[in-house]
Subunit: 358 residues, 3 copies
């Protein structure tokens, strides 16, 4: 895929300075760009690189005043960063939506429907009464169960597994091996110590613009009519566990290997790092930031906090406490010394390796 | 699926009060039930809801004495909770065992056998000499290797992968993407720093009534004749790691993202929360309860303990210590103050922001 | 598979003492071996077992002097341990490389090539322009995307998913459900709180002799031309997360459920236990040993350290601090007592349950 600078400027409503017929094949950072690549300059901190970069072209602000000669062509725009992200997004779509047609053998129920410009890879499976929109890319070995509804411009990477009754919006990307809609973990204890399975009859709803990583699992809600909900714009990484009846708020980002227990509601625009664990039936306020490996065992009601530890406390307090934690044996020893002093013994004279128990 | 109250009463050996021809299509909690649903009342705490619920019917104890008028029909039984769980289990089976027949293309070795009333989804694979019982549901893209034995009433959700030589009992449910019988993690260090693979020749045994979540992994045992064993009635959640030669005792429950290292034996009726890690070659006593993110590095020999932290300690002690942990900087400061006081300085007069290093 | 002792002695360049025509079908530990099995004696600590074992044969050092009668046949070699690991490796290869031929239906692009002695299981998929070497075993439902290069003697277990552009060396084993080359987790924040996807255009490179467990995920690098790299001889367990642009050094071992964040470089011959988390953009020195559940938030520059905790500190310091941590409530109480004493109150006389707040 190659574009001329003229074509790119048109997408960005920008102006070319230099040879507009040059061809660009990919994007790069200004400090790393090579010929054939386009980069951008938004932060003045990086200005030095514009005079030395090998990029074929740089996206800059209309009012940018170069202090030295620049070898690269320029595209002048109102906001270089947002122009670059538009380009990224376009590029991402282009490379992601190349596949089309139907590879055989693949399986589609007679009662299922699929829109225009679809890709259906070999060994993919689409169940009964399932309705799928336009421009959807279903890679090989994907499973889509019965009564599923999927919007437009969705990509299901190899071997994604969508259980029955799931709802998926537009512009959703799900990576390989991820499971959507498996049974919630619900069992009723019996008198003899065994458990009976509580039927899991709800579903999963994934709104527009959600991206989900590989080998992640999202369980369905327990009761018929209820849903586990992933709100618009959520970005989830690999190997994440989302239990039954969880709701993840708009534009929240969750890193790899984090687990959220049943019925917990996560707010909007939260940043949840990797390997975090959140207990069930909690509320996490908007804009909460949770450090890696944090354990949340109580609801977080104040917005915008940065927390760490188990149970989670303010990140600065955590590090202050941890700094002392590392010296705990010394502190315990000093407390012992004080006690001895106060009871009339001077520890520096009476202590021996034998009676000192560290 | 709809049943009349009469039919349900028959299953539960109960008595109908009200219109026994009413149709019920699903189950619900008494405080949330809608028309067409059946609920139960066992705990007197919920009695208030029986006078206001929209449920079509309520299961109650034979000796229940209503204090006000009840709009719903009633089914009188000996034990409402256990009757409701029986109904749940029946309902669960009904919705789980609907599929039947063989979708094409699917693959079954000529030397494999499968019992009556089977479902084999498209792109499912059954290897050489594998023997599968009656009423087994094998969803699309499931892999069952060579020399596997599977009992009756088993459900393998899409893309479950069963390695060669695995043994699976009756009434087992395994969710999508789970791997049973992959190689144990065993390597012999060589003098040059490299590792040689120790061949993994044992298998995995899963007893009756076990449920396993999605994208979980259970490794096979190392030596021929040995097994990694999941005992009867165990319930396991998603993304769990069970290493080679582990044994999980009867009716133990394990939540998501927990990992159990090689050769560890977990007792019966344990409750293991999410993201717990248990080291190798340990024993965990019956009825042990492990809080989320706990790390177990020593055997637990006393039954019935509730533990938390890393290494795991009694859960109450953990929270007591953590309460102090949060105040550690303050305590360290108070110890310093005490030391200054004892050495003749009054910290409250001599301390300045500059010489105080917190 | 059975071999005579003569055949085994030939592989090991050893000498048989006893009946060289005996047949051996598998390997075992000396203390557990049964007839038909071969074991080894290297550590004098285990010498007692050689006089009682039921093994058909034992590999011993040429200079071994028995103190009693031995019933088993012997194979005399220079180095019994390394001879046994050679045998293990041979055995492992034999049992792993049995499959051959092509099961139908399976899918291979017309532009893909595959070497001699291949196994391609049913429902496996090989994409455009992909090149695969000799003696490669591709199990059922494996997905290999476009433009992938795979070496010789590689085993891809059921349902492994290899994204486009991945490079895999020789003698690599990847277990079921593992995903190689999924998109790195990269999103550019927008002013309205939403995120745009940063296109992930790099790939994954897996060098020779690497083993990867089940349901693990390795993301591709972000920029075109860059790679996430797993160096020669690395051994990785199940459910591990390797983010974009990570490099794992030669002969490093990583246990289950560990996660390594973006752009971090792990040194050679490290031992990383289970459920460890390592933050992004760090360097971890060669021979670092990280205990289970450790959190690494800073680079580790000194080689050969053993660390534990979050943030990671020296393992001995961690356990010393934890020993005090368990007594924190008592220490806090003793500090309070000291303060009261110093301010003139004797806590043992004035304290009451009411004013003591523990």
């Amino acid at each position: 895929m190659e574009f001329t600078l003229h074509q790119i400027a048109q997408i960005l409503k920008g102006e070319v300075r230099g040879d507009g017929n040059q061809k660009i094949n990919t994007l790069a950072k200004i400090q790393e760009a090579r010929p054939g690549q386009i980069a951008f300059l938004a932060n003045p901190k990086y200005e030095q690189y514009i005079y030395t970069t090998n990029a074929s072209a740089i996206i800059v602000a209309r009012d940018f005043q170069p202090k030295k000669e620049i070898r690269s062509a320029l595209i002048l725009v109102d906001d270089p960063y947002s122009s670059f992200t538009i380009l990224m997004e376009q590029y991402h779509k282009m490379i992601s939506f190349q596949k089309s047609g139907v590879e055989q053998p693949s399986y589609i129920s007679e009662s299922a429907t699929i829109g225009s410009n679809a890709y259906r890879g070999a060994f993919s499976y689409i169940g009964n009464k399932t309705r799928i929109g336009d421009n959807v890319k279903i890679y090989p070995q994907v499973f889509v169960g019965d009564d599923v509804v999927i919007g437009n411009n969705v990509i299901l990477h190899p071997n994604v597994k969508i259980y029955a009754r799931t709802r998926i919006g537009n512009n959703v990307v799900i990576h390989a091996g991820t499971v959507i809609g498996s049974d919630g973990f619900g069992f009723a204890p019996q008198e003899d110590g065994s458990y009976k399975t509580i039927p899991q009859m709800g579903n999963v709803v994934i709104e527009d613009d959600v991206t989900i990583g590989a080998n992640t699992v999202i369980d369905c809600a327990t009761l018929q009519g209820d849903s586990t909900i992933i709100r618009q714009g959520v970005k989830m990484d690999n190997l994440i566990q989302i239990a039954h009846n969880v709701e993840v708020g708009k534009n929240t980002v969750i890193a790899a290997q984090t687990g959220i227990s049943g019925s917990t509601k996560i707010g909007e625009s939260c940043m949840i790092a990797g390997q975090v664990g959140i207990a069930g039936h909690l509320v996490v306020a908007n804009q909460t930031s949770l450090g890696a490996q944090t354990g949340v065992s109580k609801s977080i009601t104040e917005e915008g906090q940065r927390l760490l530890g188990y149970p989670a406390i303010d990140i600065k307090d955590y590090f202050r406490s941890y700094a002392v934690y590392k010296k705990l044996p010394e502190i315990a020893h000093r407390v012992r010394d004080l006690e001895k002093k106060l009871s009339g013994q001077d520890p520096h004279t009476v202590e021996t390796p034998k009676n000192r128990q560290n």
